[in-house]
Amino acid sequence: MGVGIEVTNLNAWYGANHTLQDINLNIPANHATALIGPSGCGKSTFVRCLNRMHETNPIARVTGTVRIGDLDIYEDAKPVEIRRRVGMVFQRPNPFPTMSIYDNVAAGLKLNGYHNRRVLDEIVEKSLKNSALWDEVKDDLKKKSGASLSGGQQQRLCIARALAVDPEVLLMDEPASALDPVSTSKIEDLIFQLKTQYTIVIVTHNMQQAARVAEKTGFFLNGRMVEFDSTHKIFTNPSDKRTEDYITGRFG
């Protein structure tokens, strides 16, 4: 089951660069929320603040509060714990190149000390089914390496890998931008199904995609969140002129 995310007065810096300014928003549980905005507006940084991945950069700094469910992720937990509850899928599929499909999906579990064979088998199968990849790979699980799949399959593999650790939230940073239209539709259909079990936050600069999969959409500009509302409202009658200029392509 997914949980809601509450962000209060979030500010983020990379060195002296004030990348995010006073972000406040509530991401609803078991929904897909899309974040749109031009390049460099901070939406990727924002999403990385939700699972403390921005901290992997030594010059990064954050103030403010992020509550996932009832847990304050900066005060009450360590980054490693948070990342097990908040999964992430990246723009370019990045399966572990030396591992088989099976090992890729099980990686999150194995590397955290779970070795029960039967349990792993079950989880791998369930995750691959949840990411609509099971039928295509079930015969080659241990024989083929993760990197030998096609781009769309690799991305679904990465989704399965993220789901295997049973997160509550799934962050997707432009998951389909490197994929062809058919693979993109498969991923979008997947998001529809996953919504019922997880809370999904998806960064995209394909607005049609945001419109297709998300119930709520937030528009980021220059490190601020300009508007956050139902997707329907944002795309048919946004309140802020800057939002309208962006989505009609009249920007700049």
Binding site: M207, Q208, F235, T236, N237, P238, E244, I247, T248, G249, R250, F251, G252
Partner: protein, 230 residues
């Protein structure tokens, strides 16, 4: 500013719609003039413009469809194109109403002039005023002007109801001029339709500019709620 070609296409679409609007408005005015002076040559003009109007309707619909498919318009652009498609249909119907009126005039040409208890010219002027206003509100993207059109519809409806009552009485009591009364009734109905189409166009303008759907917002008592969509 980006999407210059797209903006140009939107401007072209608006312009074509205005050409069509001009033709429709002219058709109505000619039809009413034909009624006033009983001149059949004007009826011919109306018939010819009907052909042009139908052709334009097809062209505008096609252009709008292309823009929807190719340009993925959002927000105000999307509302604009949707409004254009609907206004397009309403203008075509206005053209049809004009033709209908001119057909009645042709029909009445063989009949004797009768003195009927309806003020068709006044109803006609109200209707054409509504048409002119709604088109003006479209040209200027002025929702307030569009709103005034919504309030005028009630007057036209009232006149139509009164005409119906009066003319049915004439048909019952003065059978020898029943054909003229019937034709007059049909002309009144056409004018009422024109007023309705003008109202629709005004609602579409408000939808386009404000993103508010003001259709069918009738308050108790049958009047239209001018506060709707504010």
């Amino acid at each position: 500013m980006t999407r210059i070609r797209f903006q140009q296409s939107l401007d072209d679409l608006k312009e074509n719609l205005l050409v069509m609007a001009g033709l429709a408005e002219q058709a109505i005015q000619r039809a009413i003039e034909a009624y006033r002076v009983r001149d059949l040559s004007i009826c011919d003009l109306v018939s010819r413009s009907e052909i042009a109007i139908n052709r334009l309707e097809r062209d505008i619909d096609q252009a709008a469809l292309d823009l929807l498919a190719m340009e993925q318009p959002m927000a105000i652009d999307l509302r604009f194109i949707l409004a254009v498609i609907k206004i397009n249909a309403d203008l075509e119907r206005v053209g049809d109403a004009a033709k209908s009126i001119s057909d009645r005039v042709r029909n009445m040409d063989q009949m004797a002039v009768a003195d009927l208890p309806v003020d068709i010219p006044r109803m006609a002027s109200l209707a054409t005023d509504m048409v002119r206003r709604c088109l003006q509100s479209f040209i200027e993207a002025d929702p307030e002007m569009a709103r005034t059109v919504l309030t005028m519809d009630d007057a036209v409806d009232a006149m139509n109801r009164a005409a119906y009552k009066a003319l049915t009485k004439v048909m019952a009591e003065q059978g020898h001029i029943a054909p003229q009364a019937l034709n007059a009734l049909m002309i009144c109905r056409s004018l009422e339709r024109v007023a309705d189409h003008a109202t629709n166009i005004a609602e579409d303008v408000i939808f386009w500019v404000k993103g508010a759907d003001v259709r069918h917002h009738k308050i108790a008592g049958g009047g239209r709620d001018p506060q709707a969509g504010r």
